[in-house]
């Protein structure tokens, strides 16, 4: 980022342009096509399942009619998007920064699978440490102090004060 002295004199238009530049890079045609294909696949699968449930007629509809209608709309929109939306620039590229949400996701999934076994405290502590130290770049000292404080206060709120049945170890 350039020094603040320059930034301060930007007109609204320049500021907007600068925000535009700071946005994550747009994904290419491949990503657009892939997302349209996923939409198509979901639409077709739903249409097939709905047909299997039975469609009936408008005055005597079977359970599948309404989901079938939506699936058809979805397939149509997916096709439209596949062709007309090829050059859209509203999808974002996955960059090296995308490793952060992926790591976050892994810790969340680990927490969900460990919670019923060993309670929420230890997984939550590990999650806090990973998010603060590795994803957020906090110092080790503040990471450990804050993580411990967070887990203790969650214990105090959810277990001691609200008396919920959240699985806990201690």
């Amino acid at each position: 980022m350039t020094p603040d002295t320059n930034l301060d004199d930007l007109t609204p238009e320049q500021l907007a342009a600068q925000w535009e530049e700071e946005k994550p890079p747009a994904a290419g045609a491949l990503a657009n096509a892939a997302s349209s294909l996923v939409v198509l696949a979901v639409g077709i699968a739903a249409a097939a399942l709905s047909t299997a449930m039975g469609l009936g007629t408008p005055d005597k509809p079977q359970p599948g009619l309404w989901p079938f209608l939506i699936s058809i709309v979805m397939v149509a929109l997916g096709l439209f998007q596949l062709i007309a939306g090829r050059h859209n620039r509203d999808a974002e590229k996955f960059t090296r920064m995308s490793a952060a949400p992926l790591t976050g996701l892994v810790t969340l999934a680990a927490m969900v699978s460990l919670m019923p076994l060993i309670g929420f405290e230890l997984p939550a502590l590990v999650l806090c440490v990973i998010w603060m130290r590795f994803l957020g770049g906090e110092t080790w000292r503040s990471t450990l102090v804050v993580s411990a404080a967070v887990v203790i206060s969650f214990y105090a709120i959810f277990v001691l004060a609200l008396n919920t049945s959240v699985p806990h170890l201690f």
């Binding site: 997302s35 408008p58 979805m74 939306g85 974002e92 949400p101």
Partner: protein, 510 residues
Amino acid sequence: MDFLNPVINGFAVVLEPTNLLYCLIGVVIGMLIGVLPGLGPAATIAILLPLTYNVEPVTAIIMLAGIFYGAQYGGTITSVLLRLPGEASSVVTVFDGYQMAKQGRAGTALGLASIGSFIGGTASIIGLTFLAPIVASFALDFGPPEYTALAMLGILLVATISSGSKAKALIAAALGLLLATVGRDIFTGESRFTFGSLQLADGIDFVPIAMGIFGLGEILYNLEERHRAAKAPSKVTNVWPSRKDLKQASGAIGRGSVLGFFLGILPGGGATIASMASYAMEKKRAKQPERFGKGAPEGVAGPETANNAAATSSFIPLLTLGIPANATMALMFGALLIQGVTPGPQLVEQNPELFWGVVNSMYIGNILLLIMSLPLVGIFVKILRVRAAILAPVTALITLLGAYTINNSMFDVTLVVVFGIVGYLMKKFGFEPGPLVLAFVLGELLESSMRRSLLVFGGDPLGFFGRPISATLLLVFVLVAVLPAIRGAIAKRKNTVTASAATPDIKEKV
């Protein structure tokens, strides 16, 4: 004075200590998340939905509403002091607000914004008080065909007015409708899309979807976002605007109130659009438009007034028709359903304490916010020192543990994580999550009204056009659906490919 009786009783509801307390909690949380860039009001409301299970419906909605309009006040502070809009609806405030701060008039800008917000909000509540019962009584005659048309129009408008690609927003809406069909078919009792899972037999709850797609999806997405470096804010002094400033801004505040009120009612409208429209209008009206962008007080007062007025008036379609006008209102709708209250035209009659309690709580909330944003503004500026790296795991943990407490089930927590992934990927690929949640909420209403109507019409879809109101609504539906395509075709024929004019793409933070 019969009309005013329930209104006055509503004040009695608000003044109950519990409700006052929750109103205060709501506006404080709203103010906080407004100040902190990152989570928007919709995400916050989604994450806090489990909190509302154990309280009265009116108390719950008072708090959630407080979060919503509180965020409009809070977003201003970072816009003016740091040039970082805390909320999408405060983006235009940056242009003149930050310039005013540079000229040493930060206090004036904040003061004008708060006073404008207060006036806009209050004017909008008064409008709501008179307009809502009229709309509700008009809608009392609505039958299934009218509701079918209204729900379809509502979903379409929200999808087409959204900032990104229209087709993608509509795809998101279709996915929402599809998700709403999971579970037992209400007419035949057969299971749909449950894949033999017992946990899906009763359908997917609204709360895990909202918490996942809005809450966790947003948290994951923010992990990736480069945070703009924030400079420590200078000390804010003299928040009371001078009489001259007030006089200069009074016109903008008046126009902003009216504009915001009407834009808020429209489906798909809301605070963000209102603030941008107001800025554009003030700039166009000004005798010296070149002052804008260089610290014009109207450029702060107008948009800030309009976004607050719109935030308030967007409750009208929800509370009178049962049709949420935007994503945040869809969350309110869900919160009411959880409480066993179905919003709709009968709400004013059958549940006056709830209706007027919520409406009148906004007066109190606005007064609280005025106090917090004028004399106490220094405290909220200090909040900015809390780092995103610390906030992110805390909000993620609140989401997971909160999701567990709804039904004491790990299945709900798993659903939240799954929908968190869906929400993150949707944002990555340019699909807005708002229409999905809105369509999910309206899905059951839409399906049942459509099937009931078709039963009445003997299976003839043309029956919808035999009734004046549903016919009109459907006509508007077709117009809204077809118009962009026609316009696009004309533009293509003219072949005016003006290298994508520099329109700032303002993404709605949810």
